[in-house]
């Protein structure tokens, strides 16, 4: 195994476009980085913003959120709702100083198997540049009475 940092990436995708698009990547045997793991949602409208945060909090270095192009939503408007949600969410995260470069939003249709591979590879490459998102994960530790305790405990855990 190489020592290069391999980012963990979770992809949140809709069933009808991107999931199927990623199936097409497979049927076309286009290779891409194995860092990404896909979770299937019925629609981008279903993707709760909290799930993205949970991914980060629990060790993901980046996420991909992808669904049908505008006007192509299987449910007519789920992606439009999602788009608004991401517009506000992304802005809020940025205001909080959360690294929004680690969230890749994409529209990948059921026909864009090659694009899916590109999206994954680009994301993984960017995350390799950015490195692990430990400062975020570190903030999950509950606040003990004394920060020194925390440090000692963490060191003990990692020993």
């Amino acid at each position: 195994m190489s020592n290069e940092f391999e980012p963990k990436v979770v992809a949140f995708v809709c069933n009808w476009c991107t999931y199927t698009g990623a199936d097409l990547t497979g049927t076309s045997r286009i290779k891409y980085a194995s860092n990404v793991k896909i979770i299937r949602f019925p629609c981008t409208g279903r993707i709760d913003f909290m799930l993205l945060l949970k991914a980060f909090a629990n060790g993901s270095d980046g996420v991909i959120v992808s669904g049908c192009h505008p006007n192509d939503c299987h449910y007519t408007s789920g992606n439009f709702h999602a788009r608004r949600r991401w517009m506000l969410f992304r802005n809020l995260l940025d205001f909080l100083g959360i690294d929004i470069r680690r969230i890749r939003f994409a529209w990948v249709s059921a026909a864009e198997g090659a694009k899916w591979a590109e999206v994954v590879n680009e994301t993984v490459a960017q995350l390799k540049d950015l490195g692990p998102y430990t400062e975020y994960q570190k903030a999950t530790e509950f606040l003990v009475a004394n920060e020194n305790e925390l440090t000692e405990e963490m060191e003990a855990n990692h020993a």
């Binding site: 195994m1 391999e6 963990k8 979770v10 069933n15 999931y19 199927t20 990623a22 199936d23 097409l24 990547t25 497979g26 049927t27 045997r29 286009i30 290779k31 891409y32 194995s34 793991k37 896909i38 979770i39 299937r40 949602f41 019925p42 629609c43 409208g45 279903r46 993707i47 709760d48 913003f49 799930l51 949970k54 991914a55 629990n58 060790g59 993901s60 006007n71 299987h74 449910y75 007519t76 408007s77 789920g78 709702h81 999602a82 949600r85 591979a117």
Partner: protein, 667 residues
């Protein structure tokens, strides 16, 4: 603790070439809650499926994960396998280790590790799966068709012909719509009335069809298979049960100078009238706005003359309700009044008319018996200018879209004119000629080449009157923007097709979405052209966008086929992957606070209001309820709900949360 079975498929070598399937199965067997894990060459084969069934029975599995190809490929297969072994099919999930893993990564430890992660993710999901049962919705097998033009007529006849009951509601006193006004139809030049009127008669006579003419939809409640329609029967002032349709009243009515809607104002009608001689129903109604009795209180000539005593001045609007299983919207279109082109002088000059008015002039049943006579003096025009795109494709003054039918009917008008006035000259100003359709291009060419219509590519700037002639000033862009001036006897404007009056109201009444031009929106522009986004409501014809008769009729038959398909089932079976609002012990039976912001988030109008009452029957809270007949399971409401009171079966908050955690948390 869960007893989950994991079945890892080699897919021949499709998976096993890059993923160590045995290792995946071994590792999976160590996951908390996994009671059994195995791998096999072809899981979807008969022996593969047998392994799953045997394991379910022998190990008493309460969940199954098949790690194989995409669920979009074999999910139905394996769910059926589970069901056959007595396990609820919705306790089976697929882990996609082929398309999303073995086919896209090289053979390596990482690829196997990823496959294990994907399996773990689905194991964590399945632990939280719940047995689900398909949702059954009863269906009232009666269709409501709104609009009695050719679209509504075709849809009603098709549905009725398949043995189902139809209620046809028409706003005007007669069915027939715009098609009944047309002279001859492109590209074949059949007489419009000759082909339409038999169908109108069929409507009147079909045992499965109930026609309510001069009626409008008042209210539509309910959902697919279970609508309740309230229909307003507008007061006709004539009892159609006793009226024989003899027409005596119409000949004696003293109010004779009312512009006829059917003749686009080019002819007159009486206050008690049928719109045209072949009307269905062919019995008159009283136009109360113009009737002397209603306006002055004196007259009642029709009452005196009526041999059957059918006149009933005191009738009021009546309301009936009907249980309906499906609705077809066929409310058609209208033409834009050309007021917004003041430089064309429509309304100012009697001899500037619309295309629909020209249809009436050219029609054998029209005010001139089919002789082309100009409105001002009744003379036969020797030179006629036709202006295409009078309003269409003009974002500045008119509408930005193409009305689609104008190119063809303008060519037809020029042709009809040339056929009727052999020595006459016709000029057509056009922007582009759009003649896509079977025999359409040939038709236009015929108008130009055989019938000698002069086609000029360019726009008309202005029309004014000079010595009883209409001077048309325009440019010919093919001749280098050369000025063109034609002294015509008559000008015909191909005005844009627009949404019918009241379309927006109706759409809101029915919760059907519509586009910025008030045309009703189809559920999907390609794959669901006759559905609306409200299940059970279909659409056809020009209420969706301007279209010609062949397109309208095929769309109507398409909508009818959807209704017939729906009615072919005793009840409607829906996938249970739908949203549900929680009902719990606390917080007055649901954590839903009834803000109903989810109502607009739902693309399907599936959110209803439900009152929660205490033991004394007092309403303590109004909460949301998802109508299982309407919900399509997109889950937009789920991620929108602040208190997480709505969840979606099959993609629940707990399931999705567990999937995320399994991928990133350390195990």
């Amino acid at each position: 603790m869960s007893k989950i079975g994991v079945f890892v498929c080699h897919c021949g070598e499709n998976i096993s070439a890059t993923v160590d399937c045995e290792s995946v199965a071994n590792t999976a067997s160590q996951i908390e809650g996994v009671a059994f894990a195995t791998d096999y060459k072809y899981m979807c084969s008969e022996p593969g499926q047998m392994r799953i069934k045997d394991a379910i029975r022998e190990k008493g599995l309460d969940g199954v994960v098949v790690a194989a190809c995409s669920p979009r490929m074999h999910e139905p297969t394996f769910r059926k396998t589970c069901a056959e072994a007595g396990l609820n099919p919705f306790l089976c999930e697929m882990s996609n280790i082929r398309e999303h893993c073995s086919w896209v990564h090289e053979k390596s430890g990482e690829t196997t590790d990823k496959a294990i992660s994907l399996v773990r993710m689905l194991v964590e999901k399945v632990k939280r799966n719940k047995p689900l049962n398909p949702i059954k919705v009863p269906i009232t097998k009666k269709a409501l068709v709104i609009g009695g033009g050719i679209a509504g007529i075709q849809a009603a006849l098709d549905i009725a012909g398949a043995g189902q009951k139809v209620i046809l509601v028409e706003r005007d006193p007669s069915i027939g719509g715009h098609m009944s006004q047309l002279s001859e139809t492109f590209p074949t030049l059949d007489c419009s009335q000759c082909i339409l009127t038999p169908r109108m008669v069929d409507i009147a006579q079909h045992p499965n069809i109930t026609l309510y003419a001069y009626a409008e939809l008042e209210k539509l409640e309910g959902f697919i298979g279970n609508f309740k329609a309230t229909i307003r029967l507008k007061a006709k002032s004539v009892d159609h049960k006793t009226c024989t349709g003899c027409g005596a009243c119409m000949t004696k009515c003293p109010s004779k100078k009312i512009p006829s809607e059917f003749n686009e104002g080019l002819g007159m009608r009486t206050a008690i009238y049928t719109p045209f001689p072949q009307a269905v129903p062919n019995k008159p109604i009283i136009d109360r706005v113009n009737c002397r009795y209603y306006t002055t209180g004196k007259c009642k000539v029709c009452e005196k003359i009526c041999p059957t005593g059918a006149i009933q001045f005191d009738r009021e609007d009546e309301f009936i309700t009907e249980d309906i299983g499906a609705v077809v919207l066929a409310t058609g279109f209208n033409v834009l009044k050309p007021d917004f082109f003041p430089e064309y002088g429509y309304g100012k000059y009697a001899d500037v008319i619309t295309g629909l008015q020209f249809e009436r002039l050219a029609s054998a049943s029209g005010p001139t018996m089919g002789v082309i006579r100009r409105p001002s003096d009744g003379k036969i025009p020797q030179k006629v200018v036709f202006i295409a795109c009078a309003g269409s494709r003009d974002p500045a003054k008119g509408i930005p879209y193409c009305s689609k039918i104008c190119c063809m009917y303008t060519a037809k008008h020029a042709m009809l004119y040339q056929h009727k006035v052999h020595e006459g000259e016709s000029y057509v100003f056009y922007m582009d000629i759009r003649a896509g359709g079977k025999n359409y291009e040939e038709f236009v060419r015929r108008a130009i080449e055989e019938d000698g219509a002069h086609y000029i590519r360019g726009r008309v700037a202005r029309i004014y009157e000079k010595d009883g002639k209409m001077v048309v000033k325009g440019v010919d862009t093919l001749l280098g923007a050369q000025q063109v001036e034609i002294e015509a006897d008559m000008v015909v404007l191909a005005t844009a097709g627009v949404a019918n009056g009241g379309a927006e109201d109706l759409a809101q009444k029915m919760h059907v979405s519509y586009d910025p031009y008030k045309f009703f929106a189809e559920a999907h522009p390609k794959l669901k052209p006759v559905e609306t986004n409200t299940a059970g409501i279909y659409l056809c014809g020009a209420c969706q966008a301007p279209k010609d008769i062949p397109d309208t009729v095929s769309m109507a038959s398409g909508a009818a086929a959807k209704v017939i398909g729906l009615f072919s089932n005793a009840e409607l079976t829906r996938e249970p992957t739908i949203a549900v609002v929680n009902r719990i012990a606390t917080h007055d039976v649901s954590t839903c606070v009834g803000c109903f912001l989810c109502e607009t988030a739902c693309p399907y109008q599936a959110i209803e209001h439900e009152e929660i009452k205490n033991r004394n029957g007092e309403v303590i809270k109004t909460v949301a309820r998802v109508n299982p007949g309407l919900c399509q399971g997109c889950g937009t409401c789920v991620s929108f709900c602040r208190s997480k009171s709505i969840d979606i079966q099959g993609f629940s908050n707990e399931q999705m949360f567990a999937e995320v955690m399994s991928l990133v948390a350390e195990y």
